[in-house]
Symmetry: C2
Subunit: 550 residues, 2 copies
């Protein structure tokens, strides 16, 4: 027991190699038992409400050592109440993180614990591996790149790891600001001659931009909202109008193009936005956190045509690329704009300086997170990854059609590449909705009923632990329900993360959908029939749980 050996055993390296291997093997077994489903009774998750887990894990600050066995037990207990995002029946988000290379590299990196702030003393191989990865990513996006052995200094890298898409978008805004007003780093925003503004489309936006504007000193008033199309993409003409006639006193310095929005994975017409930005001299940021994985596929990358003209691109391998968290990247087309953040400008052209921390705003000491994506690209190559991405899109289309064919749903936004949105609305209910929407005064209540039953459907399935959809509120921009495009409605999200779907999983999913779906038909129909007659209907409270809804 570690508590009996004078303290040395509390640090892994102080143990005998056989003991190390034994402990690591036990930890790995806990991980594998979760991964293969044993620890979770072959469910996607063993559901427990918040209060129950709060009670289960509540514990006063521990005071004394408990030994290895108790440690391992407590890790196993955490695994038993975790959700398996890589399970085929998990259909909420694409964050599967289940590549062989990513997990193998994750285990190795845990032991290496390199610090990617600098080369000497902190991360010799790590810095070089990360630099190579950044160059590969630049090549994939269509930005300039060079062979690593022709490396001529940090000035030319133009890319960095970040902890997530949220941060990548924060950094993009920071870089765009400093590229537009180089003096801002010294004088601050109060020293600028005009009010900086970011242009993005409401309805397909990710919440990170509002967050970034708020914490980077622009304020939420620094966002200028354009509009979205009925297919959940940015309306290019609305952006054009804003750039032609920005609100008085403001200067738009950045336009956000969305390559796969977080709810329906619609992809903007990037080339058209690039034209506009070029015309107005405005920074073009492409948020490819969802769509970035398509770049590996010759067959699919055409959907992102124009991305190579972006000034910056966010990628999120922990979303669509089978890599565990944290794995996100920001690429900057002209590397100079990232290089300007170096505290030591004279080191930028030193071909023997690989201290990545000099060009990573917001980051100092940080781990070797890039090893996992580097390993994935090494292991599968562009072609191997392309095949997974293409398989995933096929599986998505198949599952989307299968879901639709069950008859319980009305599709809302289904034109994306791995994610779609729909509501619970079986045929009998749909006929009533069609009749009731003719009476405008009832429309808000019809929306509430649809929302409530969609919520109930998703939550009932979720609590069963058998099939996990996402749940969020969204505008019905295409007016598929005929209940208006302005108000938000509760929706189901289906996202395919795992590229393939076994026949067994498919059958399971359909079976459980039917079981829950059937039970809700009559109550929903009855509520719709009572609309306009019975005033005492249950209110609908919008769900705000979960990132896609934010």
């Amino acid at each position: 027991m570690s508590s009996d050996n004078g303290g040395a055993g509390e640090l892994l390296g102080d143990r005998h190699p056989d003991e190390i291997a034994a402990l690591v093997g036990k930890a790995a077994k806990i991980g594998i038992d979760f991964f293969t489903g044993q620890a979770r009774d072959d469910l996607v998750l063993r559901y427990a409400p918040e209060r129950e887990l709060l009670e289960r894990f509540a514990e006063p600050l521990p005071q004394t050592p408990i030994g290895d066995d108790a440690l391992l037990d407590s890790l196993a207990e955490v695994s038993r109440w975790s959700v398996a995002q890589h399970d085929q029946r998990y259909l909420a988000f694409p964050d599967v993180g289940n590549s062989v290379a990513g997990i193998a590299a994750g285990i190795v990196a845990t032991f290496l614990n390199q610090n990617l702030i600098a080369y000497d003393r902190s991360a010799p191989a790590g810095s070089v591996v990360e630099a190579q990865l950044l160059l590969w990513l630049r090549e994939l996006v269509g930005f300039s790149f060079f062979p690593l052995n022709e490396y001529a200094g940090l000035r030319h890298l133009g890319a960095m790891w970040t902890s997530g898409g949220n941060m990548s978008n924060h950094v993009a805004m920071t870089v765009a600001l400093a590229a537009t007003w180089p003096d801002v780093r010294r004088r601050g925003l109060r020293g600028l001659p005009e009010r900086p503004a970011v242009v993005l489309a409401r309805g397909v936006e990710h919440f990170s931009y509002l967050g970034a504007a708020q914490v980077l000193g622009l304020g939420s008033a620094g966002l200028v909202w354009s509009a979205a199309n009925s297919d959940y993409t940015s309306d290019v003409s609305a952006i054009a109008a804003l750039l032609e006639n920005p609100p008085e006193g403001t200067r738009p310095f950045m336009v956000v193009g969305v390559a796969g929005n977080c709810r329906t994975t619609g992809i903007d017409r990037l080339a058209e936005i690039a034209d506009l930005c070029a015309k107005h001299g405005v920074w073009f940021h492409v948020d490819a956190c969802h769509g970035g994985s398509l770049l590996f596929s010759d067959q699919l990358r055409g959907e992102l045509a124009g991305i190579e003209r972006a000034d910056s691109v966010s990628l999120d391998p922990h979303k669509g690329l089978f890599i565990t968290y944290p794995s996100s990247y920001l690429l900057v087309r002209d590397p100079e704009h990232l290089a300007q953040f170096s505290r030591y400008p004279d080191k930028l052209d030193d071909p023997s300086c690989l201290d990545l921390g000099l060009i990573t705003p917001f980051y100092g000491s940080r781990g070797f997170e890039s090893l996992r994506l580097w390993a994935l690209i090494k292991h599968l190559g562009r072609a191997g990854i392309a095949r997974l991405v293409e398989q995933r899109e096929e599986t998505f289309r198949e599952m989307r059609d299968l879901i639709e064919s069950t008859g319980y749903f009305q599709m809302i936004g289904a034109a994306g590449f791995y994610r779609c949105a729909f509501v619970y609305c079986p045929p009998e209910a749909r006929r009533l909705v069609e009749a009731l929407r003719e009476r405008p005064e009832l429309v808000p209540r019809v929306r509430a009923v649809v929302s409530r039953y969609t919520q109930r459907f998703v939550q009932t399935l979720y609590v069963s632990g058998r099939v996990v959809f996402d749940l969020f509120t969204m505008q019905d921009l295409g007016n598929a329900l005929g209940l208006g495009t302005e108000a938000k409605i509760e929706m189901l999200g289906m996202c395919i993360g795992h590229p393939t779907m076994d026949a067994g999983a498919k059958e399971d999913i359909v079976k459980h959908i039917a079981a829950v779906g059937d039970d809700l038909v009559d109550p929903m129909v009855n509520e719709l029939r009572a609309l306009g007659v019975d005033e005492a209907q249950e209110a609908w409270t919008a769900s705000v749980h979960g990132p896609a809804g934010w």
Copy 2:
């Protein structure tokens, strides 16, 4: 081979459990071989210059799958050129990351891949575990806390994980700004009635504050510099003077107190700064990225007295707490100031809402990094961690005295708890320095000689891979060398990360110090003798490699 089985084998969960276990075992073995020293010939690192590793890892974007064996080989190759921060002969930084619990939990977390943005669908157990950990950390600092099963909503948590101390300090500045001017989130910095300024001491500052001011819209002009004492702590009277008479037009809104600076781990008089901040109504941020680990020890935590009165505290378990990257935390005394960042204020008092992403500015989807520190505290308890921290301080004092007793060095800043700074300056050289410094015109050149030989000493040892010290430039604030306090000099940093030191390691360290140290005595003495006679001396170029120097 994964390239032959129709794609399924590229995703770990698609393999047979025995195959999964075999692959994970092989990855773990690569990690363990690095950890125990086999992969690095029992050196701290097998040194290679940048150009060599650039050549070794340069590779065009891979196109096709290579199979598991080649993947594992490439990971092993990376490990062979990595540096072992947990090796006892690694004396540059405290980032050992070698706790049994931290590594075991790191392995488990790789498989769990939970998303700490939200409870449902993303991280049920993870959210609860992280909340418990945040409350333990609040208790350790001396902030308010409550039993987890009395959780009443996000409004009361007042803490968050971040990717590193740099980010924790960025978030602290963001929170302090918004606490001082709540409207800043909406109107931005341009809407404020006065120019916000941060007060911190030059000479002991961490580079993150300059970076934060630059990217958060304050600009570097938003930093107001006070002074440091000769013992490398903030001069409280200088802070007082600045708060009494701030530069015209500016309003100081935040003072940084340093609980362990990154070069000598000097600890500020926190209670005195707290008094000042209270008097002037200014946010008091304590940067305890280095000193935070002392909080576990009843014997040592008195050195941080006053930290409980801070408005915010940064902790960095991936520095002094034996946890792998990324592991940093920001605590906010009044949780309301963090809660204000929630996009959904009405969720803040919902006792069933554990969506941590609502109160984590800068962060959306992110991994279960908190499991590792939670596991460490579970495994060892406060007492077990205290013992490691106390052992480490004892080892530090012993090693510092041992280093001094070798006679090759002049101590510069040696009053800290696990890190000290010194220069290479053997007795013969010291006598010459003492004589030469009487001639003011020679002082800059004496400094250059001392700096150059200090550099040479550290680099020669580093390249040998046998002992790793840190190297950075710093002012000699106590004028220990008598060469003035203003100019920066190259210094050696010794940091004890591993709590214990085997007799063998100690012997090794002394032996290699002597081998390199002896060789440099005559050349250094000759150069000093030639000063004032020979004008053609080699110039000294300040080293900027590595975080402590930034």
